[in-house]
Symmetry: C2
Subunit: 219 residues, 2 copies
């Protein structure tokens, strides 16, 4: 294979790799292996690659996330992709700014670019599924019951009385609200589908902090 552009730059500037070096390589949505660098020039490199093992196992977790600010969404997508979350459903909420839904970050290619950065970070190749649901009510009423069926169903809520479970080791679906939180009416919609409000403390954390914290505590 021949690498140029961003990945070439990364190999040269970060790995400082030269001919003969071995790098971890992977095929998107396929296997992982090793690449031996055979040629380097000023704009590209060539590798002999072989693929001999499967990517790491995904968590049994679906994350429902109220759409955050575009800049934050980029970082959260990278984080959840690096943490092996297989599915993210981005939903609306009363406290989500309407303009966020117009952001170019929500384009399929832009989402995939962030997910790939997370996969590269974690040496994974299996792209998470990202679904956009800009209308909360029909999503919760029509899709959520079957998504949540059989799964531990949790909604993060700083004022909840139930602490977030630890190390659950079962299929889980977790909803995280916007900065400012879901409205009580929205939380009721989730609890009507069998979701339990859970807390990791009354401190209000920003989305990019609370998502890795909740995943680490749960999984």
């Amino acid at each position: 294979v021949r690498l140029h552009g961003r990945r070439f730059q990364h190999v040269i500037a970060v790995h400082r790799a030269t001919v003969g070096a071995e790098l971890c390589v992977g095929l998107l949505n396929d296997r992982i292996g090793t690449g031996s660098i055979t040629h380097v020039n000023e704009s590209a490199l060539e590798m002999d690659v072989r693929f001999d093992h499967t990517p790491p196992q995904k968590l049994a977790l679906t994350l429902i996330l109220a759409l955050p600010r575009p800049k934050v969404l980029r970082r959260v997508l990278r984080a959840v992709s690096s943490m092996c979350v297989p599915r993210v459903i981005i939903v609306n909420s009363f406290r989500v700014e309407k303009s966020f839904w117009q952001s170019p970050i929500l384009g399929e290619k832009n989402i995939q670019a962030q997910l790939v950065l997370g996969l590269e970070q974690a040496k994974d190749t299996a792209l998470p599924e990202v679904l956009l649901r800009p209308l909360l009510k029909p999503f919760v009423e029509d899709e959520l019951p079957s998504l949540a069926n059989g799964a531990l169903s949790l909604i993060a809520h700083p004022q909840a009385s139930v602490p977030c479970p630890r190390h659950t080791q079962q299929a889980t679906i977790l909803a995280v609200g916007p900065e400012g939180g879901f409205l009580p009416y929205e939380i009721d919609k989730f609890t009507a589908c069998g979701f339990t409000p859970v807390t990791i403390g009354s401190r209000i954390l920003c989305v990019e902090t609370v998502v890795p914290a909740l995943i680490a505590q749960l999984c």
Copy 2:
């Protein structure tokens, strides 16, 4: 009190507060309470404030962090401050770029500004202590033994065989390396001080993801 500038803008644009509204307020390194808005004009607002309770309890955790990129450090400082970490020691490591130590973010005022943003997010007022140790060897040899004395001493290491403990509920000191990890030689320096290498999985996570994840799993 009279607010203008960033805090005034936040109250108007995010809280959309008007005269009569009550806001959570706090005095830095002091108590927390309530402010009632009495006047608003186009550049400032006035509040009657009363302070009637103490800030949330800090975690019994010292975080030792290899200096990350300045942009990442800003976010990590906000995150640890919002998660009630009382002390952060920023250290050098072979894989830390030397230029990072010249960054203006390491100035006392800039560090405090990020910590205050984290405190505001979490409704806390007690500023964490941040120490800079640009030389790893004398820090580990001269200061670390007494800092680690009596505490659960852990160093995050993706290839460790021991899983990171959960919900320890005891005084803990946790070291987190740079992207690329501590060198084996550096890890040996920590283990010689009684640190145990622990892992939350073989996936390599970026610093701003792994820090909230480790804190959530430990505390």
